[in-house]
Amino acid sequence: MGPQHPMTHGLWTLKVKVDGETVVDTIPDLGYIHRGVEKICESRDFTKITTYCDRLCYASANTWSHSYIYAAEDLLEVEVPERAEYIRVIAVELQRIASHLMWLGAFCPDIGNLTAFVWCLREREMMLDLLQELGGSRMHYNFPRIGGVKRDLPIGFAMRARAKIKLFLDRIQETEQLLDESTVFLVRTQGVGYAKPEEMVNWGVTGPNVRAGGVNYDVRWAHPYSVYDQLDWDVSVERPSIKGADSYDRYRVRVDEMRQSALMCLDALNKIPGGAETHYSEGDPMIISKAKERAEEGKTGFHHFEDSRGESMFYMVGGGDQRGKHPYRISIRSPMFLTIPYASKCMIGYKVADIPAIMGSFDPCIGETDR
């Protein structure tokens, strides 16, 4: 299957050996859009790398740029003002909602429903509007800066965000009814693609796919890196059957996570220091702190980050070209790069018609996988 195939959200090949309609063996083949970001970043300034990290994953750009920014701050030893952290949380969670909506929109056509696709895109547009107010673009925002954020919350952003998030919470319930009340959806998603949590973690799968297995491991909890421990939210955990987490669990956990992210945004808008309505000009010490340009030789920085697909991580070594202006080595940990082999092993024994139902439920994103 693939590279050009409706099942592959992105560009990769899954070599499937079938017996009749039963899948016997699968071999994933990646690397169709391998772009060598790590090599290019070795000749870029720390501020220029953010754009490449935006373009790593096309479904959730903000989370990846933030993931890089935290690692860079770990390398450059920067302290970030708290208001900037709150703004980052808002941006990341909005992006997470948009990414999960894109996943839901791509998952439903896989099993034959086009209506939910358009509905999810319609709701994703609202999130993109909010992010556009922050970052200025539709997809690739280049929003965070080392030591803070590019821009403060626009005037009136809080009001609009509250309204749109409330509308989103209503509409996601609508979409949920469309899917959960449909027996066909249940028989297609329940009982396919069982995955055990221990096995998943051993294979390197993280994020919602593991939480669908009934384990509440979340980097935002276990290693709180931002103001997540000051916000009022819960990790969404599913209650799977004995055999493990099936596609329906993965669908449910993502929908719950969207709710949690929305509530988190509302809470952050309430708790943000300095007030959500006040607008600080660019470069204000409230939203960005001074950061040095160069990293000394031998210094390393890394950061585990809860991407919308799992645990993403940047490992950076300082002291590169131009007397440390460039990183010597930057290495990217992509959750999907390890999830896709496991997902392709998951679908052995099921029917061909289940391949999209399983692979789509793991939310593959090839941009980050091939980097």
């Binding site: 055990k196 221990e198 998943m200 276990a222 290693h223 709180p224 997540y228 920085g301 585990h304």
Partner: protein, 225 residues
């Protein structure tokens, strides 16, 4: 309700846990040249993590120890670095990031599984989520290689494939090593992340138009953007 695992594990609990790992390592690996220390993240919340400098020939044993005794059940990343002008004993370096997730299969109850919601109050020494950073340095050689930990963590499988594909560090005992990101017909020995390979136009200040001479410039002439 606010139910934050992180607040509890950030402070002294994490310090204690990290220190326990260090002590265990010193007891277990004395005489092998293994160094272990507690380091802190420098940004945000200064969380501790365990840094282990592992000798090259003990890597698999250390990995098994970490996996089965220290409970580092998640191999987050294995990557390699090429130091052409580094010290002689460290021309190549392999860095592995592990995590202790304490993820277990949720127990069954009545046909369904119970959700494993851990109560932070009972999170003690080896239940605290912990980050490990293991660095293995390889002396100057033409074809660097370390032991493979493929059977310890399945997640290390593709990480090692990618490390060999991009950096060129081979892993002894790794099954079906192949190109994962680069095309399968890539010339043998081409590993782009080695420092001797330069990117395109690395010595150009500006990218000149019409790189391949397909006449794009002629069409763009007179256009103002």
């Amino acid at each position: 309700m606010v139910f934050s695992l992180g607040i509890k594990t950030r402070g002294e609990y994490a310090e204690e846990a990290a220190q326990q790992v260090i002590d265990a390592a010193i007891v277990r690996w004395q005489g092998t040249g293994l160094e272990a220390e507690v380091r802190n993240h420098k940004s945000g919340m200064a969380r501790p993590y365990v840094y282990i400098k592992c000798p090259r020939n003990h890597w698999r044993a250390v990995a098994k120890w970490l996996r089965f005794e220290m409970g580092a059940d998640h191999c987050s990343m294995i990557t390699g670095i090429h130091w052409p002008d580094g010290p002689d004993d460290c021309k190549w370096e392999v860095v592995a990031h592990l995590m202790r997730m304490n993820v277990i299969n949720p127990p069954e109850r009545g046909g369904w599984t119970k959700q494993v919601i851990r109560d932070p109050k009972i999170l003690q020494d080896d239940d605290v989520p912990m980050e490990f950073e293991v660095s293995i340095s390889i002396p100057d050689t033409r074809n660097p290689s370390v032991q493979s930990v493929q059977e310890v963590w399945m997640g290390a499988d593709w990480n090692e494939k990618e490390t060999w594909d991009l950096v060129g560090i081979d892993f002894e005992g790794h099954e079906n090593m192949r190109r994962v990101l680069q095309p399968h017909d890539t010339p043998v020995g081409f590993h782009p992340l080695q420092r001797q390979h330069k990117i395109r136009y690395h010595d150009f200040e500006v990218m000149y138009d019409d790189a391949q001479g397909f006449g794009r410039k002629a069409i763009d002439e007179g256009k103002t953007k």
